[in-house]
């Protein structure tokens, strides 16, 4: 046999058998000798000065921010501060954008459509549907993100965020996740799509997937207003007016904490089951502190994060707006498509303590959680036939006061149970289309995108089902 082989094949065969002789750990020896040689060269040629001093200053900061007593309080105060600045700072520009885009520009466009004799259905689809949905998304999404992302990026640039991951890692390790998931989770409170992108900082494949799939359990910016509104209407009204604010705020925080609980529980479940076989490693770089590069940070966080997320939301908001208008305006017989769906799905929805309006709103308002409440209001008015309220069928709106919203919802048959279930379902349902698309772009996997989309819905249905049935058991 060996006679037929060429010289080259002989050499390869000899090399192969030599590799068997070498044993199993020659790769390690190779790396060791490379490092050994590199450090010998650097010892002989590189002189270092000043580093020791700079580092000892870093160490002093680290002693404080990772200390047993101060580490966690500093962290919580800083994060609370970031959220407070975001929420309070976004109020004014959001109002300004809304009055400009929705209250001023929208009627102007409608007037223009009338003067040029545009058919009613065309102006409905384009202006009430596509334009309004886009305007809404921009008005409510842009300001909080434009404030939240730069502050977050500044903290990251400063070198503080890796210390948060360092402090929180023990908890996340027990859940089978990476400490940096604390960061992607916090980012998710701003925007889930951004949180999913932020999971790039996790270099271990398994933990990165876990962070991406569970990011949706962080109550994002678009869902906070829904939570606050519903908590005020249905839970705050249970107690005397003096403590109503406190109680409803408590309810919202409870939902957010429930989200963190689900995030950790699902992380644990995933790491023990479907993601068990994925490769995993842990190391956490703790870079030196440095003065943040403010301008560059502003630029990158506004362009890379805010604008990209906003653009994706707008891309989805336009077709969704058209669909929202169409389902409310295309009639088959006496009823619109929306009413058909609402009536058909009502019995099913009631098992989960929700109603057909909520289900339809969550399906057609998929581009952004921000437009769920305007869609719910529009659909409620449509399906109950309150023709004197709102801006016409298919036109999303919000009322001037919480009292008006409450009376619309009560007229739509909402109870305390509906309110609680809506809060739960708002936490546990599919991510918005922007986030779903981002998950696909980040994982390049249809499978994990589907899991991230349907797992929260499944959990949401389970949780609302048992809440409802237990409620009926005691109040039935």
């Amino acid at each position: 046999m060996s006679n037929n082989r060429t010289k080259g094949e002989d050499i390869i065969a000899a090399a192969n058998s030599a590799r068997w002789e070498l044993g199993t750990n020659y790769h390690d020896s190779l790396i060791e000798s490379i490092y050994g040689e590199a450090s010998r060269i650097s010892r002989n040629t590189v002189k270092q000065k000043g580093d020791k001093q700079a580092y000892s200053f870093d160490l002093k900061i680290d002693k404080i921010v990772t200390s047993r007593w101060l580490g966690f309080p500093i962290m919580f105060i800083l994060l609370a501060l970031v959220f407070w600045i975001t929420v309070s700072g976004a109020n004014y520009p959001s109002g300004l954008l809304a009055s400009l885009l929705i209250d001023t520009l929208h009627p102007m466009l409608k007037d223009l459509a009338t003067t040029i004799h545009m058919p009613w259905w065309l102006s409905g689809v384009l202006i009430d549907g596509a334009y309004l949905s886009m305007a809404w998304v921009i008005a409510v999404m842009l300001p909080p993100m434009a404030i939240f992302f730069p502050i977050f990026t500044l903290l990251e640039d400063l070198g503080y965020l890796p210390r948060v991951a360092f402090n929180m890692d023990n908890l996340f390790r027990k859940a089978g996740a990476h400490g940096k998931q604390a960061l992607t989770m916090s980012m998710g409170f701003g925007c889930n799509a951004a949180g999913v992108v932020a999971a790039r900082v996790i270099d271990s494949p398994r933990e990165r997937l876990i962070a991406i799939i569970t990011n949706n359990f962080s109550l994002c910016n678009g869902r906070w207003p829904t939570q606050i509104l519903i908590a005020t209407i249905f839970i705050g009204s249970l107690v005397p007016a003096k403590i109503a604010g406190l109680v409803s705020a408590g309810a919202v925080v409870t939902v957010a904490l429930l989200g963190i609980f689900f995030s950790l529980a699902v992380s644990w479940g995933l790491s023990k089951t479907v993601l068990k076989g994925e490769a995993s490693s842990f190391s956490l770089e703790l870079p030196p502190y440095r003065p943040p590069q403010v301008l560059q940070t502003l630029y990158t966080s506004l362009i890379d994060r805010t604008m990209i997320v906003l653009w994706r939301a707008v891309v989805f908001a336009v077709p969704a707006g058209i669909i929202i208008w169409l389902v409310a305006n295309i009639h088959v017989g006496d009823l619109s498509l929306a009413e058909y769906f609402i009536e058909w799905s009502n019995p099913f929805a009631l098992v989960f303590g929700l109603n057909g309006v909520i289900l339809l709103a969550y399906i057609i308002a998929i581009p952004a959680n921000e437009i769920v409440i305007p869609t719910v209001l529009m659909l409620t008015v449509l399906s109950t036939g309150m023709s004197d309220i709102g801006a016409g069928s298919g036109v999303m709106f919000e009322t001037d006061s919480i009292g008006n919203t409450a009376s619309i919802l009560h007229a739509g048959g909402w109870t305390l149970l509906t309110g609680i279930n809506l809060m739960l379902f708002s936490l546990l349902h599919n991510p918005c289309s922007t986030t779903i698309m981002t998950i696909y772009k980040e994982t390049r996997s249809v499978k994990w995108t589907l899991v991230s989309t349907f797992l929260p819905i499944l959990l949401g249905l389970i949780v609302t089902f048992f809440t409802t049935q237990v409620w009926y058991l005691f109040h039935g």
């Binding site: 580092y55 160490l59 002693k63 360092f166 890692d169 068990k276 190391s283 030196p288 019995p347």
Partner: protein, 351 residues
């Protein structure tokens, strides 16, 4: 949808039932989906390939092989084993010489192909996934029957054409070459001798799992301290181990002379107190795959100086400083990095 009209009590029960069913369906290893996929894969070809692999293994180790041992190994009854072997014989993959079974050339090359696929996939599972060491063998057993050779060759190229599986078994080349088995059983070593573990037998599974639990792995150096009829005692990585001769028989070692075997336990990185400095001796082979590469890439290699500088307020991980950077490492990994305290001695600190 009866669920819609029934009382809360009944729908609660029905809901619980559905929930339990979903949980059962997705339960790992024992759930409905796992059960169905197992059912689909347990076909005739898989059984034939397993039989060929086993006969080849006997041949390689020069152990006698008959219908009994085949039935035992494949966990099927004698009748079924007999029919299986007749079929293999009719395909001219084996010859039946009275009781003893031997492979034909065609059978041997078929078996070698399967063995190559099996071991390459084991290597892959060990290096590139997070699957438990005790499950590598079973998982590769499952995979080997449905992957194609092309897929496996692609994988081998991607892994850098490995020549050993994670148990220390040589991987046959694509041309079907395999080095002659060497090394001796651990139970044949005498007191005071040194050896290096080259192979842990991965079957039967129960014994292999025990060996893994003891922390034994190929490449480990051992020093025999005591041997008698009932037990064999040795020091491995500074840990005293005692095995029965039965268990020791599943470990293959090569004798080494004048070995630098460590007779006492190495201190590990996690034992370093804050502010202390040490020199890295190496990373335990128990730390594998991605994690091992990551640590080595960061510069945890023999000879580097490392110090513990900060600890998370929750106790884990710890920040270590080496090569001018600070990296947080979890205790579970710091437990696998061996160190010595050269600097404390030089500077006269108490170690």
């Amino acid at each position: 949808m009866i669920l819609l009209q029934s009382s809360p009590g009944t729908s609660l029960l029905a809901g619980l039932g559905i929930l339990l069913f979903i949980i059962w369906l997705f339960w790992p290893a024992k759930g409905g989906i796992a059960w169905i996929s197992r059912l689909i894969q347990n076909n005739k070809r898989a059984l034939m390939e397993d039989a060929l692999k086993f006969i080849f293994d006997c041949e390689y180790k020069q152990v006698y092989c008959d219908v009994n041992s085949v039935a035992g190994n494949l966990n099927i009854n004698m009748d079924k084993a007999g029919r299986l072997l007749l079929r293999l014989a009719s395909l001219e993959l084996i010859v039946w010489n009275r009781q003893a079974i031997a492979l034909t050339d065609a059978g041997r090359s078929y078996a070698l192909r399967i063995v190559r696929i099996h071991r390459i996939w084991e290597r892959y599972l060990a290096d590139q996934t997070g699957i438990d060491p005790a499950k590598w063998h079973g998982e590769a057993d499952r995979i080997e029957h449905y992957v194609t050779e092309q897929e496996t060759e692609k994988l081998a190229a991607q892994l850098g054409n490995p020549v050993f599986d994670p148990h220390g078994d040589p991987i046959p080349t694509a041309e079907g070459e395999l080095p002659i088995a060497k090394g001796v059983s651990l139970s044949s070593l005498h007191e005071g001798e040194f050896g290096r573990i080259t192979h842990l037998e991965d079957e039967p599974k129960s014994i292999y799992e025990q060996l893994v639990v003891l922390g034994l792995y190929p490449g480990m150096e051992v020093y025999i301290t005591d041997v008698d009829d009932k037990k064999i005692s040795f020091v491995a990585n500074g840990d005293e181990c005692v095995l029965t001769p039965l268990f020791a028989g599943y470990i293959t070692v090569e004798k080494i002379t004048a070995a630098p075997v460590q007779k006492q336990k190495y201190p590990v990185l996690s034992s370093l107190k804050l502010g202390e400095e040490a020199e890295v001796i190496g990373i335990s082979p128990l730390c594998r795959g991605l994690q091992r590469r990551r640590l080595m890439d960061l510069g945890i290699v023999p000879g580097s100086t490392i110090s513990a500088v900060m600890r998370s307020p929750s106790g884990d991980p710890t920040g270590y400083r080496f090569l001018g950077t600070t990296i947080g490492i979890r205790k579970q990994h710091a437990d696998l990095i061996f160190i010595k305290h050269p600097l404390s001695k030089e500077h006269g600190y108490s170690a």
